[in-house]
């Protein structure tokens, strides 16, 4: 199985551990991912808030490249990139007029037949069996709150995610690797996303709410599938500490990092040590040593 890989800007910087752990895990699963040549930014929020055509064109370029490289499917691990690419493709496929316009701008044809998949679809494609074969560590002490955020599940009529309000597909994967999941309210609540820098206080408040809801429902870790969500939930906890004196830390892991842990990799290998909130489970570390012995 050869899947195209569109890392997206964050993967090269703020979310390099996402990229790191993903590649690691994919190797272990001996499922290759091939990076898209000369990919450019999808435009993210900034593009579509300023110009509809610009956002379509920026994503359009990458879609065209993917087709050139003959990708049947292309993974966009960042929920924002996934969302932008998917929506652009949808809009192009649904309006010949728009399509013609964008093709002219990026000056090449766009067939729009590459299947854009998110991180969860990726692991679904690989299959629970294959994943569970590679499980070494017992993660049962983890009570994970799966956080989908916005752009993974919405708009539902385009993403066709399992459910717009009560998605469960991430839970299923998390259960497969042996962690427990908690039933909570803010699975798809927004964390403030792009406002992270310019309107930090908004993001801090929203993220705080999300973290606390996870906690009250018994979670001891939050699992995310989006660099922006991670930045807001993990990095912003520093600010939370200043805002709310009583704030106690809540570790936030990327889905591949969790799977990596289950497979027996350690924090360093997976880049978990790069997180703002430290994540240590001595029991786990011990177990993995036993196995490696």
């Amino acid at each position: 199985m050869q899947i195209g890989y569109y890392p997206g800007c964050s993967q090269t910087g703020t979310a390099k551990e996402y990229d790191k752990s993903l590649r690691l895990v994919m190797n272990k699963l001996s499922a290759g991912i091939l990076e898209l040549n000369d990919w450019s930014c999808c435009g993210a929020t900034s593009a579509h808030v300023t110009s509809h055509r610009l956002s379509l064109a920026l994503s359009g370029r990458n879609l065209a490249l993917a087709e050139k490289q003959g990708f049947k499917e292309m993974l966009a691990p960042c929920a924002a990139c996934y969302n932008r690419l998917l929506i652009s493709q949808h809009e192009l496929n649904n309006s010949p007029k728009v399509k013609a316009d964008i093709e002219e701008i990026v000056d090449c044809k766009i067939k729009g037949d590459t299947e854009i998949i998110n991180i969860i679809q990726l692991f679904q494609k690989i299959g629970k069996e294959k994943i569970s074969e590679n499980i070494k560590n017992d993660l049962s002490i983890l009570k994970a709150a799966c956080y989908y955020g916005c752009l993974l599940v919405r708009p539902h009529d385009i993403t066709h995610f399992d459910d717009a309000e009560e998605p469960v597909s991430m839970e299923e994967l998390v259960k497969t690797v042996g962690a427990e999941t908690v039933n909570w309210n803010f699975k798809t609540e927004c964390c403030g996303a792009a406002h992270s820098v310019a309107r930090k206080e908004i993001v801090v408040n929203l993220s705080k709410k999300i973290i606390e809801d996870a906690r009250t429902h018994g979670a001891n870790v939050i699992i995310v599938a989006c660099p922006m969500c991670h930045t807001n939930l993990d990095m912003r906890q520093r600010a939370m500490k200043r805002e709310y004196k009583d704030h106690s830390e809540m570790p936030v892991l990327y889905l591949p990092e969790l799977i990596g842990l289950a497979m027996g990799f350690d924090n360093k290998q997976l880049g978990i040590d790069l997180h703002t909130v430290k994540f240590k489970f001595p029991e786990l570390v011990k177990k993995s040593e036993e196995i490696t012995v």
Partner: protein, 666 residues
């Protein structure tokens, strides 16, 4: 043949765009036309007299009137003609208003078209033959489908007028949704107290044959003469023997397997059961899906304890046929619900309200059961999850209604009122409780309705908030309801103990199937469609089939009752005469030509074509030919078009006549 042509100006309506005088002149030159004239109002008395006079003076035996649509005044003119002593079917109408003057502007062109249409009519009338209307007998019995308040009302009205009624109800008891309601708006009188007597009246009425736990299988025939096949589902209880003592139900070991449909899944019922204590008839049925005997033959407790020996496990469904002249459809509605297991429910959506997930997020009917003295909480307000008394209830309107993305575009009409009632009932019982209603618009059109809603707000202190709720989630025992007050422009968050969703009224899931069985049209929602939205609101387009109640559209009790009485009246109008007059447009067979291939029988939708033996004097069979039963033939002419030897002809629309019209083109 001597034909007279009469062109009507219809005041200015035709005259404005059609040069009527010129049309009349032109017509005068058509062959066989001996008289042609135009007049301001042909349908007026003087106008009709012109026709009658002309018929006498010129010995006319054919008349063409150029006027409004035949659907308007064909009857009028045919009567005028027959008054003048000419067979009414020798009168044809050219539609110069709806099809010419009202739809075209250029006077030249319009006049030209008018002349053409008159020519058509002349050519057709030349070939018309004098006909007499067909008379068919009327079976003065009515079938009422559905035993809710609409069906009950219709049945009683017809029966009290002295005509027999067959009332078919698919549930074990009549009563419908109204029997589930606690109290009714705007008077707040107890629903069962006013309904139960009616149910008993139906049961005891000598003219009403009540068939519960039964469904209509098929309908044949036509207005005045329907043959209906009804499936009586097996009750496994002999209705004649059963005394309704209820011992079987008490002794039935199945206690917590089956949800009570009547209590909207808020309580359980035994495997052998009557839906509710006041059920009519008070005869139990066995739910074979949960009954141990039907599972593994082990238990037969009910049979043992029944001193009347009324229980028969080997009872079978039976088919019963009834002859009726009219059918009143009153199959009612269903509430848009999501069952406790969303994956099993037919409608998805409203995950954001936790509907189907949270025990205390319930729908309107469930609230009725909780509020009802005969309900699972015997009228005390206790929430389903922990039986605690809710101190704060949020009511949300338009759930599934006015929502094209998750539900239906239409307004369910009754929710505004019943929500106000719910809030009121709650406040009356729980004085320190708070009730909030999220609404989009308050539609309280009806006698004392607006006043009722005002009372809820002003006297009972129900808080109304204008805006749709976006999300409901549970947080330590409370349900957080996120809304926006769009009037104040402020976000609202309420921590409620219980949430009641005023979910939409939807058509019965099997409605479209029934519609096809009995041959009436239905809309995209599954509601049955009337002939004319303004002037014929209770008649279906199939003659003799009438509509009553919520099977037609969302409506409240008084509207259902009045519609039911209207439908009953329509049925009785039908019974007013012993014979039905029918247009003589029926098929006729030319027995000499007929080759007896009987293709016509295959295509006839009314089984109107029979096989007739042709014998010589000594009685030997020479051949078999098709024979049309005038009583059954509806005159669609499909047989005519199908017949290879052209030996079936539709009177009034013969090939000859139509060819003549075609040839008259330009």
């Amino acid at each position: 043949m001597k034909i007279g042509v009469f062109i009507c100006h219809c005041g200015e309506n035709i005259g404005r765009t059609v040069d009527c005088a010129r049309v009349a002149k032109a017509a005068a030159f058509f062959t066989n036309v001996v008289y042609s004239v135009d007049n301001k109002y042909m349908c007026s008395d003087p106008g009709q007299n012109i026709i009658k006079q002309a018929v006498k003076d010129y010995k006319l035996d054919g008349v063409v009137v150029g006027s409004c649509s035949p659907h308007m005044h064909e009857k009028t003119f045919r009567k005028a003609v027959s008054d003048a002593g000419v067979n009414p079917f020798l009168c044809e109408i050219a539609n110069l208003r709806e099809h010419v003057s009202w739809v075209h502007e250029d006077k030249e062109v319009a006049t030209g078209k008018a002349i053409d249409l008159v020519r058509f009519a002349v050519e057709k009338v030349k070939r018309n033959s004098p006909l007499t209307t067909i008379k068919v007998p009327v079976t003065k019995r009515t079938l009422v489908i559905g035993g809710g308040i609409s069906g009950i009302q219709a049945a009683l009205d017809v029966a009290n007028a002295g005509y027999e009624v067959v009332l078919v109800e698919k549930e074990p008891s009549i009563g419908g949704h109204m029997s589930q309601l606690s109290e009714t708006f705007p008077t707040l009188d107890c629903s069962q107290c006013i309904l139960t007597p009616r149910m008993v009246e139906v049961y005891q009425h000598p003219k009403i044959k009540l068939m519960t736990y039964a469904e209509v299988e098929s309908v044949e025939g036509f207005i005045g003469n329907f043959k209906v096949t009804i499936k009586q589902k097996a009750r496994y209880v002999d209705a004649d023997k059963c005394s309704g003592c209820g011992t079987c139900m008490q002794k039935c070991p199945i206690k917590k397997k089956a949800f009570s449909e009547f209590d909207e899944k808020l309580a359980f019922r035994s495997a052998i059961y009557v839906p509710f204590p006041q059920a009519v008839p008070n005869i139990p049925v066995i739910d074979t899906s949960v009954c141990t005997y039907f599972k593994n033959g082990k238990c037969s407790m009910c049979q043992k304890v029944c001193d009347r020996e009324a229980i028969f496990f080997d009872q079978k469904d039976e088919l019963i046929t009834e002859d009726v002249g009219a059918i009143i459809v009153a199959t009612g509605y269903k509430l848009y619900t999501i069952d406790k297991k969303p994956e099993e429910s037919e409608i998805k959506g409203y995950g954001e309200y936790g509907y189907g997930k949270y025990k205390d997020v319930i729908d309107g009917l469930q609230f009725e059961r909780i509020a009802s003295a005969s309900g699972p909480t015997s009228g005390e307000f206790k929430r389903p999850s922990d039986g605690k008394e809710p101190k704060k209830i949020v009511f949300i309107q338009c759930v599934g209604s006015r929502d094209e993305s998750k539900g239906f575009s239409y307004c369910s009409k009754i929710c505004c009122m019943y929500t106000a009632k719910h809030a009121m009932l709650y406040k009356h019982k729980v004085h320190d409780g708070e009730a909030y209603v999220f609404y989009m618009d308050i539609r309280a059109g009806g006698k004392m309705y607006e006043e009722f809603v005002r009372r809820a707000i002003e006297e009972d202190g129900v808080k109304y908030i204008r805006g749709r709720v976006s999300r409901i989630y549970e947080q330590n025992g409370k349900y957080i309801v996120k809304g926006e007050d769009t009037l104040a422009g402020v976000p609202v968050e309420i921590d409620a103990d219980m949430v009641v969703l005023a979910t939409a009224m939807v058509a019965q899931p099997e409605a479209s199937k029934l519609a096809q069985t009995i041959g009436i049209p239905y809309d995209k929602y599954g509601y049955f469609v009337e002939v004319h939205p303004k002037l014929r609101p209770v008649e279906s387009s199939s003659g003799g089939i009438f509509l009553a109640g919520a099977c037609h559209s969302p409506r409240d009790i008084p509207e259902c009752v009045s519609m039911a009485s209207a439908a009953a009246a329509k049925a009785m109008v039908l019974f007013g005469s012993d014979m039905l007059e029918r247009e003589p447009t029926v098929a006729k067979v030319n027995e000499l030509l007929c080759a007896g291939c009987f293709y016509c029988r295959k295509v006839c939708a009314y089984n109107a074509i029979e096989i007739k033996d042709i014998r010589d004097r000594s009685g030997n069979l020479i051949k078999q030919v098709a024979y049309v039963n005038d009583g059954l033939c509806q005159g669609c002419g499909t047989c005519n078009a199908t017949c290879p030897s052209k030996s079936v002809e539709l009177i009034g629309y013969t090939d000859e006549q139509i060819f003549a019209e075609i040839s008259a083109l330009y």
